[in-house]
Structures are given as structure tokens and as C-alpha cells.
């Protein structure tokens, strides 16, 4: 099959990758962490520790019997000071465990498996116990993803190193500094899934990462350079670009025989399986209008404010603090903790946030041109605003990924994504 390296539509925002040559540094140990009991798609965990309990790093503090869920672990050693409702970066309020640190950084004992000898089930249960979820953004529990329904034949594993959003360099640095772990992790996943074909998709604006992974991957893991274009990192478009397959609407990559894992998750899988280390820290890019942009290895549950301080504090009058990239991240209004899916903290000062007033749609068609899903955002906006959810459905509104390309290019500055979310709400109401 001919390798296609692109997909339909997409945009080219300024990359602004200010931190691509900054080595990953270990962040200062936080004195207090807030660990939400739901950092993933699926059921929230129930706390398994009580207020006042002493916990160590890596100790499980929340778990759930539900099939789609992932346990959470303490990320510092200290005392549980409260169990209360806290705000997630996504704006949801969920129960969370707050831990005050003690002086030490005492870990629980961890035990790994030998991937050569361990069974598939053992490895999957290890991954679950370590609380692994997709670290690229959505947070889908990894053990569920690695255990596809029997009837789906998986033939390809794709490691997602595209990192198409501007500003973020966490995955890029990982590929440069922890390449070996990623390659080994990929091999473990391939073994679990029983596939031979392992591909790593990397955008061609990261030639050093492509070289490094190509060198380390050797014969078994092949690197596929991709055209630099947002949203290349969306797994649907990655699959389309690399394999030319289209995931059916409403379906999952399983349905076309593919499993996609983010590089960060792959590295975490390696550490979990071979050493039994739970997911307690991750790389976060802190950038934008801060004194010194950094890639930090951060304990989960660390508050945004302390990380921004660690980067020298904000520059100018801060107007927006965004969890995630500028295209799909969430704007924050109070201090929130880093969670398993937080790949970037973006600080925007007044100068960078120039919100222009909306003007009428002039039907320029730019949104249609850039929509990677082949939708007609302008029509969706009009149907939503005219209260015609049945027409929204007719124009496939539910296929929208909210990648934001349409709103990015809109010359009329219509908040298209916001409107489409409203349209989806109306459609869901219609279906009821």
C-alpha cells in the first residue's frame, strides 16, 4: 500500500515551540498535591485511604471496580489532609485527595515483570495497577485499550509522536531523551497485542526526533515522517495519514485493526511493566508568557501556580492560563492540579489574547476547507443558531472532534467550536 502522509484539511498555526531544545528537568517536589479521583475517561475512583492516613509515593489511594477506570496513586509521601471536591482542568468538579508532604520522598516497593516471560494478562493487569491512561489528551484507560474485543483483529501498532499542537514539546523531548524506553515500551505493547507492525508517526518539523527514533528503532520499529500540520496528532488523522484507513464514524481505531499509543504513555508502559512504577509523574511543558519556558518532570497533583513560579513567574499581565495546547486546551480561572493528561501549561498575557468581536459569517468557506473531518462548520453554526438540531445531525455534527481548525481560520471570529458544542447538546436532547 502506498504510504500517504497527509490528511484532508488542517491548519498551520505558528509552531512557537519555544522549549524544543530545553532538557527535561525534574520539578521541585511539591509540598502539597491535589489528586483528583477521576483523571481519565470512565468511572471515578473511590478513595482507599482515610483522612489523616500516611501515604508513600506510588501508594494506591483510589480505585474502582468498574471496567473502564484506572486507579490513582499518591505522588508524594506525606499525610492525607482532606478528601474534598476539587476542580479539574476540564472544568468538572470531582472528589480529590489532598496530601501534605513530609520531609522525605519515600517510595513504596515496586516490582516489575520480565516482558520476555510474563503473560499478556499479567502485563495488562500490571498496567492497570499502575494507573496508566492515555497521556496525549483524552485519558482513556490504557489497559482497556490494550485489551481489544476478541473479534477485532489488530495488525498495526502506531506510536503517536506527532505532537502537532503549537508550544508543546513534552513528547518531543521524551523522544530525544527517553527514546530507548519508548522503543522498548512499543515492543511490550506489540507483544501484548500480538502484532509485528510497529510504526512511529512523527511530524517532519522534529527531524532530530525522527533521526533518534529511527536509529533506536532499528528493523522492528519503523519511523514514519509526517507532514507538519495540525491536527496530525489526532489518532483518526494519524491512521488515515499512515495507513490510509478511515475509522468509521462513531467507531474506534480497533475497528480498522489499529491501536494508537502516545509516546508518553508508551514510556510509562515500559516503566510500569518492567519496574512496576505507577504513573506518578509526567513531563509538562510550561511555556508562553513566563520568564523561562521549561519542560518539567512533574509529580501529578502539583498545582499550576507552583509550576509557573518555578518557571520564574508570569511576564506581563496574565489573562489566560491554559491546560493543554492553544488549539484544544482548557482556559483556567482558578488554581488546578496537573493531572495524568496535562501535557502543557500555557500562560498568555494580555498582549497575546486579542479577542476580536464577532462579525457576520461571510461564507468564505475557509472552515470547510480546513475541517479534517470533512464537515461544513459554517452550516453547523447556522443550523445550531436557528435551532435546527435535526439538520445538524443530517450534516454529521457528531463527527466533529472540536479540533478548532475552523475557529482558528474564521475571519469573522465566530466561536465555532463553542457553537458546535451547543449543537451537539441539542442533538443529544433530540435523540432522547
Amino acid at each position: 500500500m502506498l504510504m500517504k502522509r497527509g490528511f484532508r484539511g488542517g491548519v498551520h498555526p505558528l509552531p512557537n515551540k519555544l522549549t524544543s531544545d530545553k532538557k527535561i528537568e525534574k520539578a521541585k517536589l511539591p509540598s502539597r498535591v491535589v489528586i483528583p479521583l477521576r483523571q481519565h475517561i470512565g468511572a471515578p475512583c473511590d478513595p482507599v485511604v482515610e483522612k489523616g492516613a500516611k501515604v508513600k509515593v506510588g501508594q494506591k489511594i483510589g480505585d474502582s471496580p468498574a471496567a473502564v477506570s484506572a486507579p490513582v496513586h499518591s505522588t508524594i509521601s506525606g499525610t492525607v489532609s482532606e478528601i474534598s471536591t476539587q476542580l479539574l482542568p476540564t472544568g468538572d468538579r470531582v472528589p480529590a485527595i489532598v496530601i501534605e508532604a513530609d520531609d522525605g520522598d519515600e517510595w513504596i516497593e515496586t516490582k516489575g515483570l520480565d516482558p520476555e516471560k510474563a503473560s499478556r494478562e499479567e502485563m495488562i493487569s500490571k498496567i492497570r495497577e499502575c494507573g496508566l491512561v492515555g497521556m496525549g489528551g483524552a485519558g482513556f484507560p490504557t489497559h482497556v485499550k490494550l485489551n481489544p474485543p476478541k473479534e477485532k483483529r489488530i495488525d498495526t501498532l502506531i506510536i503517536n509522536g506527532a505532537e502537532c499542537e503549537p508550544y508543546i514539546t513534552a513528547d518531543h523531548r521524551l523522544m530525544l531523551e527517553e527514546g530507548e524506553k519508548i522503543i522498548e515500551g512499543a515492543k511490550i505493547i506489540a507483544k501484548i497485542l500480538g502484532v509485528d507492525n510497529i510504526l512511529i508517526g512523527i511530524e517532519d518539523n522534529k527531524p532530530d526526533a525522527i533521526d533518534n527514533m529511527d536509529r533506536l528503532g532499528g528493523e522492528s520499529v519503523r519511523v514514519v515522517p509526517l507532514k507538519t500540520r495540525y491536527p496530525q496528532g489526532d489518532e483518526r488523522h494519524l491512521i488515515k495519514a499512515i495507513l490510509g484507513r478511515e475509522v468509521p464514524a462513531g467507531g474506534l481505531p480497533f475497528d480498522v485493526g489499529v491501536v494508537v499509543q502516545n509516546v508518553g504513555t508508551t514510556k510509562a508502559i515500559y516503566e510500569a511493566v518492567t519496574q512496576g512504577i505507577p504513573l506518578v509523574e509526567r513531563v509538562v511543558t510550561i511555556t508562553g508568557d513566563v520568564k523561562e519556558s521549561k519542560n518539567l518532570l512533574v509529580r501529578i497533583g502539583t498545582l499550576f501556580s507552583s509550576l509557573i513560579q518555578e518557571c520564574g513567574g508570569p511576564v506581563g499581565n496574565t489573562r489566560k492560563v491554559i491546560a493543554g495546547g492553544p488549539m484544544m486546551g482548557f482556559a483556567q480561572y482558578v488554581d488546578v492540579p496537573v493531572v495524568k493528561t496535562t501535557n502543557c501549561i500555557l500562560v498568555f498575557s494580555e498582549e497575546r489574547v486579542r479577542e476580536e468581536e464577532e462579525s457576520p459569517c461571510i461564507r468564505c468557506g475557509r472552515c470547510i476547507e480546513v475541517c479534517p473531518m470533512g464537515l461544513m462548520p459554517t452550516m453547523l453554526v447556522k443550523f445550531t443558531r436557528a435551532k435546527k438540531p435535526e439538520m445538524c445531525l443530517e450534516y454529521n455534527i457528531m463527527s466533529c472532534d472540536e479540533c478548532g481548525c475552523c475557529a482558528y481560520v474564521c475571519p469573522s471570529k465566530i466561536p465555532i467550536v463553542h457553537v458546535i458544542r451547543e449543537g451537539k447538546k441539542a442533538v443529544r436532547r433530540l435523540k432522547k
Binding site: R93, Y333, P415, H418, E422
Partner: protein, 267 residues
């Protein structure tokens, strides 16, 4: 003359015979009651009954007369006649009107930009207001009203009770559940929707009910009970004395002057 009559007459005869034969062969059973019920429906096709419009509703009614209460717009007279047509007895129902249970004034959590509807605003973070139950004031209810009965004054919707027909579309449109239907003869109403404890309300909004129970104590007939941190008024006991309104420090309770209620609805 005779020829002309013969020609036209035979044409007419031919076609009418054809039509009679065809209409017999292709006869369709039509329930006449559907049409007659349909005539009694208000015809706004507002959809509040849960059907696609008055036509659909009329058809459903013939099959299941008990749905008659679903239509909130029908006048008492029409309802009675429709009931007679469908063979059920209709009890007199009081007319409902929409009531906005928020006086506005909650603190704003953050500046925001985006789609200017209440529904869209309430999906930003936890909603733009410190009070999660308060009116956002962007007029989703105004747009939902098919009768133009709601208008925004400043940031608060005001219901014109002469135009309101109690269809409840605004109730569904409000993402915060601020609007409730109340009987048109309700004597005292409350202007707060937050079931949060007094401390939380006081921190978020100067106009909210803090469940201080002064009204409960002031009421001489025992018509007010605080439930879920909000006063619940038993309108049948209320004497419109206004003691509770006097007692309320935050002006949450409002006394409506009882209106003449002889004809619940005249279309």
C-alpha cells in the same frame, strides 16, 4: 343549445362517474375526530406536549385521550369541548405562568468570550457565575418563548403574564432551571433558586436566599416551610398578608397582588 348541453352534460357525467368509481376503489379511512380535535388545539405547534406539532398531537389524542392534559395552551373551554369529543371528563385546571426565580446579582467568576447564549455560557468552566443556580441573563428563555412573553430588562428576564400561556418551553430552555411554572393565583413567590446553604449563597450573591427562616417565623398561618434551604410556600394557606415579605432582609420574597381569576383563559 341542445347540443351544447349534451356535450357538457355528457362530459360532466363521464367524469363524475369515473370519480365516484375511483373514490370507492381507493377509499381511505379517515378519522374525522382527528380533524375536529385539531381545530380545538391552539395551533401554535409549540411542541410542549411532546409531539411534533398540533397535527401530530391531534392524532395521538384520538388514540389516547388521556394525553389531553399535555397541551398547556388550550383554554378551559376548548379543553372541555375536546374532552367531550374524545369521551373523557376534564377537570378544571388552573392556568400556569412562568416565573423567574432569580433576582440576578451573583458575582461573576471570570471574564469570558464566546457564543452569547445562556446554555453556551453555562458550559464554560462551571458557568460564568459564582452562583451555580442563578440566571445568566443572556435570554435563552426569551428566544424560546413562542408568544413573545419574556423580555430582558437589564440582565433579568421579565415575564409578561398576560402574554404567557404557561407552555413551559422557557423552563426547558433555561440551562440553570431558574424558571418554574407557578399557578397564576400564586400569592407570594420567591426570587432565588439556590439550594446551597446560606454561607455559600451569601458569598456568591447579595440577593440570594440564605435560609435564615425569618419568613417561616413571620408567617402567621404556617404557609412557609424552609426545604432545601429555600422557602416553600403553600399558596392555599397564604392570606397575602405580606408579613413574610416584610420579614425578609434580602428581599427574596415578593408579594403578587392577587389578580381576578374568573376566566383562566380566553383566547
Amino acid at each position: 343549445m341542445i347540443e351544447e348541453i349534451a356535450v357538457l352534460g355528457s362530459l360532466g357525467f363521464f367524469f363524475s362517474t369515473l370519480l365516484v368509481v375511483m373514490s370507492k376503489r381507493f377509499a381511505v379511512q379517515m378519522d374525522e375526530r382527528v380533524e375536529r380535535v385539531r381545530e380545538l388545539l391552539p395551533g401554535a405547534s409549540c411542541g410542549a406536549c411532546g409531539f411534533g406539532g398540533c397535527d401530530d398531537f391531534a392524532e395521538a389524542l384520538v388514540k389516547d385521550p388521556s394525553l389531553l392534559g399535555n397541551c398547556r395552551l388550550m383554554g378551559a373551554d376548548e379543553r372541555r369541548r375536546a374532552g367531550a369529543l374524545l369521551g373523557i371528563e376534564v377537570k378544571e385546571t388552573w392556568w400556569m405562568v412562568a416565573n423567574v426565580r432569580c433576582a440576578g446579582g451573583s458575582k461573576v467568576l471570570f471574564d469570558w468570550v464566546g457564543e452569547k447564549t445562556c446554555s453556551a455560557a453555562s458550559s464554560l468552566g462551571e458557568g460564568v457565575l459564582a452562583c451555580k443556580y442563578g440566571c445568566i441573563g443572556l435570554g435563552d428563555c426569551v428566544r424560546a418563548c413562542p408568544f413573545g412573553a419574556i423580555e430582558l430588562r437589564g440582565n433579568t428576564p421579565v415575564v409578561d403574564e398576560d402574554k404567557c400561556r404557561g407552555c413551559g418551553l422557557c423552563v426547558n430552555a433555561c440551562p440553570r432551571g431558574v424558571i418554574k411554572l407557578i399557578p397564576k393565583d400564586a400569592k407570594v413567590i420567591i426570587r432565588c433558586n439556590s439550594p446551597e446553604p446560606g454561607k455559600v449563597v451569601a458569598a456568591a450573591c447579595p440577593n440570594g436566599c440564605i435560609a435564615c427562616k425569618l419568613c417561616e417565623k413571620a408567617c402567621q398561618v404556617g404557609a412557609i416551610k424552609i426545604e432545601n434551604n429555600l422557602p416553600v410556600i403553600d399558596q392555599s394557606l397564604c392570606t397575602s398578608c405580606g408579613a413574610c415579605v416584610e420579614a425578609c432582609k434580602r428581599k427574596v420574597l415578593v408579594l403578587r397582588f392577587p389578580k381576578p381569576l374568573a376566566t383562566p383563559h380566553a383566547s
